[in-house]
Every structure is written in C-alpha cells, then in structure tokens.
C-alpha cells in the first residue's frame, strides 16, 4: 500500500477493498470446509471420546474391516439409494412430461408436487412417523378401511417393512426437485421437433421415447448424478423416522457415523470420534467411487448411443 505513485495507490486501495470483500467467503471456506476436512485425518488412528484421545495405531482400521454393522449399513445405503432412484426418476420424469401437456391447473399441480421440498426433512420424518404408526397411524386405518389389509402393518417396527416406509418418504420428499429439473430441461427443447413429429403422425408415447427422452439425455445424466450422490448422503429424515431401526435394518452409513460421533439419541454410549472419522473417510470414498463409476458408465453409454 505504500506506493509512491498516486494512480497505483488508488488501484491498490481498490485491491485491498476487494480483498476485504472476499474475506468473509474465504474465512467461511477455511473454517467451515477446509479445517474440518483436515481435522478428520488427525484422529483416524486415535480412540477419541471428545475429552481424551489415545493413540491406537491401526486398531480402528482392523475394527472397520470386521465391523458388520458398518458394512451392513453400507449395504442398506446402496439398497436405499436403489429403491429411491428406481421409483423417483421415472416418476418425476413422468410428472414433468404430464405437466408439459399444459392442461388446466398445471401450474397449481406443479406447485403442489414441489411443496414437500420446502419442508425440513426432520419434520417430514416426524410426519411420516405419525402417518405410519402401527396402532393409530392413518395409513393403516385407510388401508384397513379399504380392505387392502386385514391387520395393521408394522411399517416402522418390522424388518420387512421399514425400508418400504423409508422409501415412500424419500420419494415424497424428493420428487418435486427432480420433476423441476426435468421440466426446466424440457423447456429448453425446441418446439419445432414436436411440430414435425405431430405432422408425421407420432402419438404421445412415440414422441416421448423417440424425441423427448433422447433430447433430454444430457439433462437426465446430470439429474441422475445429483440423485445418486444425494441418495447416498440422506440420513436426516431416516434418523427421525426410524432411528435406523428396527435392529439396524434401516441404518444407513451416514446415520451410523453420526451415532458414533455424537452418540445415538436413545443410548448413553460414549462418542467414538476417531473411529467415526475413519468411517467418514471410507463413506466419502464409497460415494466418490460410485460417482466415478456412474460417470464412466454414462460416458460409455454415450458412445454406444
């Protein structure tokens, strides 16, 4: 700043101001993103409960390799992501196509489909816990009234049903998002192609598979990528809805890690931060690997088609 030249001084003062204006974002980046990231690595070889840390060498790693609960939770994460994607992608695409027909009330419908995304996932987990309560939940009441089932389904209390319930909630909470991505993608498609398809006598289904879907494939690829990564990271709603139970049946890996690091909500077990940190890295690697594999597959498909 101690430049003799007057013009230069003005520039450097502007530079200083620019630096100051960028400072909050930089501090946030360093404190909220970079620092925690480095911190994780510090404790991976320690047994750390929040107060005292003891060096344990490779014990955390051997424990991870033999930790059935963790690897089961990884399996459940894949299972959850698969269920969620299988239903949510076609359904949101379908809703986007139907909305694109611009029938009466389309705007209102779109607003209603998107509405769940503005509700806190913790609250929606709670709402679904009420709806799917075994004894007095409205889902069982309606199904029994309609004669679909004879006795109440244990939506959240049985190992067979809990993933169904979790999936239903995930579809409800995410449908609006993906629908909106598809709608936006479709708005970018040219009208002319549809005109000529119509003249050629293509019906709605033909138009969809021959025109909309191929033209939408770049959007589809991005949406799929977003859907995959976000499905692997979901745990907030599950934490509220089923707490990972019963018997860890709906325990996904990030929920298991949360319980290790901050202690499970309904137990008094001590935090195991070092081990949790190691599992976090493992989980991030798993998500990263899945993303990379997806990208390779998507590219291969691109070359084929």
């Amino acid at each position: 700043m101690q430049k003799t030249n007057k013009g230069k001084m003005k520039i450097s003062r502007d530079g200083l101001v620019a630096g100051l204006m960028l400072t909050p974002a930089l501090i946030f980046l360093i404190v909220c993103s970079i620092y925690p990231f480095i911190w994780i690595f510090r404790y991976i070889c320690y047994d750390y409960n929040g107060f005292t840390a003891t060096f344990t060498g490779t014990r955390n790693i051997t424990r991870m390799l033999g930790d059935k609960t963790f690897w089961n939770s990884v399996g459940h994460t894949f299972e959850y992501a698969a269920y969620k994607l299988i239903f949510i992608i076609p359904l949101s695409l379908l809703m986007a196509v139907l909305l694109n027909m611009r029938m009466k009330g389309s705007n209102l419908f779109r607003g209603m489909y998107f509405m769940p995304t503005i509700i806190s996932t913790s609250i929606s987990g709670m709402i679904f816990a009420f709806i799917f309560a075994t004894k007095n939940g409205i889902a069982n009441s309606i199904l029994m009234d309609m004669g679909v089932i004879d006795s109440p389904i244990k939506w959240l209390m049985s190992r067979d049903w809990v993933m169904v319930t979790v999936t239903i909630m995930a579809i409800w909470g995410g449908l609006g998002n993906y629908m909106l991505y598809f709608t936006t993608g479709m708005n970018g498609l040219s009208e002319d192609v549809y005109e000529s398809a119509k003249i050629d006598g293509a019906n709605g289904v033909q138009t969809f598979f021959r025109i909309t879907l191929p033209m939408l494939s770049p959007v589809l690829k991005v949406v799929l990528m977003l859907a995959i990564t976000s499905a692997f990271k979901d745990y907030e709603a599950i934490m509220v809805l089923s707490k990972g139970g019963p018997g860890n049946r709906s325990m996904v890996m990030f929920l298991y890690i949360y319980n290790l690091i901050f202690g499970a909500t309904d137990s008094t077990s001590q935090a195991q931060i070092g081990y949790g940190a190691l599992l976090s890295i493992m989980a991030a690697l798993i998500v990263g690997t899945v993303t990379i594999i997806y990208n390779i597959v998507a590219k291969k498909l691109d070359d084929v088609v």
Binding site: R13, L22, L29, S106, F114, L175, Y181, I261
Partner: protein, 288 residues
Amino acid sequence: MEKGHAVYSTQTKILRGLIWVFMLFMAVLMIFPVIYIVFGSFKGNSELLVGGTNIFPKKWVFSNYSNAWQQANFARYTVNSIFLALGVMVVSLINSTMAGYVFSRRKFKGKEILYGIFVMFMFINVGSVSLRPLFELSVKLHMNKSLISVILISAGGGQATYLFLSRGFVNALPMELDEAAKIDGCTFFQIYRLVILPLLKPVMATIALLSFRQGWNEYILPLVFTMTNENLRPLTVGVNMLKNAGDGAAAWDIMFAGASIAIIPMLVIYCIFSRNFMSGMTAGAVKG
C-alpha cells in the same frame, strides 16, 4: 391453451381426462401429509391416539397450540427459529453478493484455482463428522452460548450455491456500468454499493428465500450445538426432542401442533413466492 381442444377426438379427450385425474391424484398424495398434520393439530389427544381415517377433527381443539406455546416452550423455539433463519439469510446475502462481485469483476492471481476450491468443497461431503471440529472450535471460542455460531456455520456451509448465483448474475451485467461509474469517481466498493447491488435485487430475492429456508429447516447442526442448552433450540430440534422424550405416544397433540408451527410459516412463504423458489432451485443446480 383451450383453443386446441376443439380438434381432439373423443378418444384423446378421454385420455386427457384420465391423465388429468391421475395428476390430481398425485397432487393430493403429495400434499396429504401436510394437510393431515395441520388439521390433526386441532384434534384432541385422545382422538389422535385412537386414530381413524378422518382428516378433519371430530371436535376442534385449539388448546394444543396454547399448550405447545406455553408449557412446551415453543414460544422460545419459534423465536430461535426466526433468529436462525434471518441470521443465515442476512449473512448469506451480504457474503455472497460481495464475493460474487469480486469474483466477477476483479482480476487477481489464482482466481480460477480459488474458485475451483469453492466448487470442490461443494462436492466433498464427509457428513456429520465435520460438525465435530466446528463444535469443539465454538466451545473454545466461547461461541456455543448463542445461535451465532450455528448461523455462521450454516451460512458458511451453504455459501457456494449462493456465491455461484450472484457471480453469474453480476457476470450478466454489462461492464460499461462499472466503467461509467469509475469515470464519475466511484471507488470499487462504491460501484458495488451504488451500482451493482441495486441491480442484484432479483438474485438477492432468490438467495434470501433459499437461505431463509435453509436456516429455518436446519436440523442436525442446531441439534448438535444445542444438545445441552434447551433454550437455544429451534423448532425443528424442539419438536423432535419432544418425540424422543418419553415413549413418544404421550403428547401427540402437542407434537402435531409443534410440527405445524414448524411448517406453516414456510408454507405461507412458499405460497407467495413459489415461483422464486422453483427458479432458484434450478438456477442453483445449473450453475452448481
């Protein structure tokens, strides 16, 4: 929209009718949980514990809200939620417009690399473990006695999206504006304050909505930070703590009312600004 109907054959009309009914059915399914919880919050506890298929209360009870408000400390939680949401909003607005402006208009060494780091950390997600060091840090700095640290961490964690939004918006503004202002003697900051900021209103509205929602809906972060301090809990945490306390079946009426208090303000905002929410979501996804 109606013009085309004349040319549709009867078959097409029936098909379109069926599609419309299906769309209506989906819409009802989507809003059902919210309708159920909001109307359920006016039911008595005994009615809720018995269950049944009725959505509207058999007997309208309004004391759930006053009970939640007074006995269950929801007045406190609501104030905390508003403070948290407004805080995240204000910090995000100031931070992202300033940083977006600098990133768009200023040339400096390593700008692209720095920008790349911002993007990179948007995708690196190690989950809740990153809250542990931040929690310990805020204890060390004696910042765990207020929600300020929660606001800063929430705003800091979500800043990348908002930064991209505002940088993209400033990029679209013509450079001539800056040059003209510079000739008139404006400094770098004055150009931001007097020229750019007023033009950023549309994107600021989007950032305001998205960041307000983010703060209002934040759960894990305030949960961790208010573990031992009940008076700092926002609604999301408060109402869930109620669920965890006891066997959970005891106070359905208060929980319904509490959940309603937590979602109704957001629903009202959504009804007014739904378009901005949707455009913000897609813009964020495309830019990000």
